[in-house]
């Protein structure tokens, strides 16, 4: 087993408030790794650090052995880490297809060839990006609505669209922040299948999720955060029995999905 993502002693403070405190864990290639923890535990903050959206106050992140802690999000994506957003952040003025094509930009020709898109320059790259985007929309199960605006989709389909947009960048690691939020049981089952198919494409998954059934069914490993600290880290069966975890989740052993 090789480590794809190494999170090493990451802390993050917000004006004196500690959102993450010395968090370390390793995500192994080809696994589904879940991060769980109560509201405000720092899960999204951790994703923001891993995707380059936030700089950690201290600590490092390494991808396939390379320290990329200070890289900008666009370069982190190009390197192979893609994400969705807990609060959906789609480009409302672009069509569904165009949203996914944006995810493909990091793999399209750069420089003058890709600059203006006058047919003589990069029609081929544009056609290819469109084909990839269509394929990704089919893959997540929302093909045939390509010309719509994201706002015309249900929230659940908007989440699928964000996954398609992330997949279009050909990531090696996909970060999913509460992908099941707002889904009914049938939709959660479908999502579980989708996550399995993404893994089967050779993509490693790091996922924040409150749906314990989904986590227990899909995850190879679970990291539990509470108040910014790692309180447990291991295979599902082991974490499930951990007293600290039970205490942290006291009162909501099977927390339902929630927005925020």
């Amino acid at each position: 087993m090789t480590v794809l993502l190494q999170i090493d002693g990451v802390s993050r403070y917000f004006a004196g408030y500690t959102a993450l405190s010395d968090v370390s864990t390793a995500v192994e290639t080809g696994t589904i790794h879940a991060v769980i923890g109560p509201n405000g535990a720092g899960k999204t903050t951790l994703f923001n650090v891993v995707s380059g959206v936030l700089l950690p106050s201290s600590g490092q992140v390494r991808f396939a052995g390379v320290d990329y802690t200070r890289r900008k999000p666009d370069r982190v994506l190009a390197m192979g880490i893609a994400r969705n957003f807990q609060q959906v952040r789609l480009f409302r003025g672009l069509s569904v297809l165009e949203n996914v094509m944006i995810g493909r930009h990091c793999r399209m020709a750069t420089g003058a060839r890709g600059l203006l898109g006058l047919g003589i320059f990069n029609r081929a790259a544009e056609t290819q990006a469109r084909a990839t985007a269509r394929e990704m929309l089919e893959f997540v199960g929302i093909g045939a609505r390509n010309e719509r605006l994201p706002g015309e989709l249900t929230l659940v389909d908007q989440r699928r669209l964000e996954i398609a947009r992330a997949l279009a960048s050909d990531p090696r690691l996909l970060l999913l922040d509460e992908p099941a939020a707002g889904m009914n049981p049938a939709e959660v089952r479908e999502l579980t299948g989708l996550i399995g198919r993404i893994r089967d494409r050779g993509i490693t998954i790091l996922m924040v999720e409150h749906h314990m059934r989904l986590v227990m069914a899909a995850a190879d490993r679970i990291t539990v955060l509470s108040a910014g600290r790692v309180i447990a880290d291991g295979p599902p069966q082991q974490v499930q029995r951990d007293e600290l975890v039970i205490a942290a989740y006291l009162g909501k052993p099977h927390a339902p999905a929630h927005g925020r």
């Binding site: 900008k72 666009d74 672009l94 944006i102 930009h105 544009e126 992330a166």
Partner: protein, 272 residues
């Protein structure tokens, strides 16, 4: 073809259309510039000095536009750190700096202006420039850069996380707009034949802003329509004599009340 008067109106209309497109480009990326007059001045002065020195028209125009585009990079760089109204203030300041520079730059005539510019601008040249500029911004909507500009406009955090280089996208938007404004300036100088710094003052930048606000920034026809109305309507209102600009101003206020997002609101057809 057209009589002298109407030909000259058509040429100035074309130049104003170019100015409206020059602002539409950065606005697609969410960057509102109140300094397009400054880029126009740079294009006008650089190209006029070159043709007066014997350089042929086309290379002189391109050189003027290129210098304006370089100035666009210069203004765009500090604009990367700020947003919204602060970008407007920054570009407004830039426009004033350019004006005062040419006012005091004696090799280009200083306060007395630059005279004896050869009459090289023709209607076909202006039409061709408009057509090319329009085609470029139209195509931009379905190209990597244009899509990236819209994404940046809508959500910078998501755009960057989805691989868009914010610096590159914003600087390109700024300098493509500046290039087009520089081109408009070059064509203007060789039609007006006399330029001085005050022809490119804040009111030039403000009226350019008006073209886009009036016509609408949802698609490139909006700015073109705005430029056409603002340029032509006062001509057709000449019979009102002294009341002309009062009436015109009232129309603008009515338009702002009825169509606050601009006259043309339909977006460019999206990719499907």
């Amino acid at each position: 073809m057209l009589g002298g008067y109407w030909e000259s109106i058509a040429i100035f209309l074309g130049i104003n259309v170019l100015m409206s497109i020059s602002l539409y480009v950065p606005m697609s990326a969410g960057l509102i510039s109140l300094g397009q007059g400054g880029f126009m001045a740079i294009g006008a002065y650089v190209s006029a000095l070159l043709t007066k020195g014997g350089v042929p028209f086309a290379p002189a125009l391109l050189a003027g536009s290129a210098v304006a585009a370089a100035a666009g990079l210069l203004v765009g760089t500090p604009a990367l750190r700020i947003r919204g109204i602060y970008v407007m203030i920054l570009t407004l300041g830039f426009g004033e700096i350019v004006r005062v520079f040419f006012l005091n730059f004696d090799p280009a005539g200083g306060a007395s202006g630059l005279v004896g510019i050869p009459p090289l601008t023709t209607l076909p040249a202006v039409l061709a420039a408009c057509a090319v500029a329009f085609l470029i911004v139209w195509r931009l909507r379905h190209a990597r850069l244009g899509r990236a500009m819209i994404a940046v406009h809508e959500d910078e955090v998501a755009a960057e996380a989805m691989g868009i280089n914010l610096t590159r996208t914003k600087l390109l938007a700024f300098s493509i707009g500046a290039f087009i404004a520089g081109l408009a300036g070059g064509l203007y100088a060789h039609e007006a034949l006399f330029i001085d710094a005050n022809q490119f003052d804040f009111s030039r930048s403000a009226v350019t802003f008006l073209y886009v606000v009036l016509g609408g920034a949802a698609n490139p026809f909006g700015p073109v329509l705005g430029a056409a109305i603002v340029t032509l309507l006062p001509e057709f209102l000449r019979f009102l004599q002294d009341w002309r600009m009062t009436f015109f101003g009232s129309l603008l206020i009515l338009a702002a009340i009825w169509r606050p997002d601009g006259l043309l609101k339909a977006p460019v057809p999206r990719s499907r």
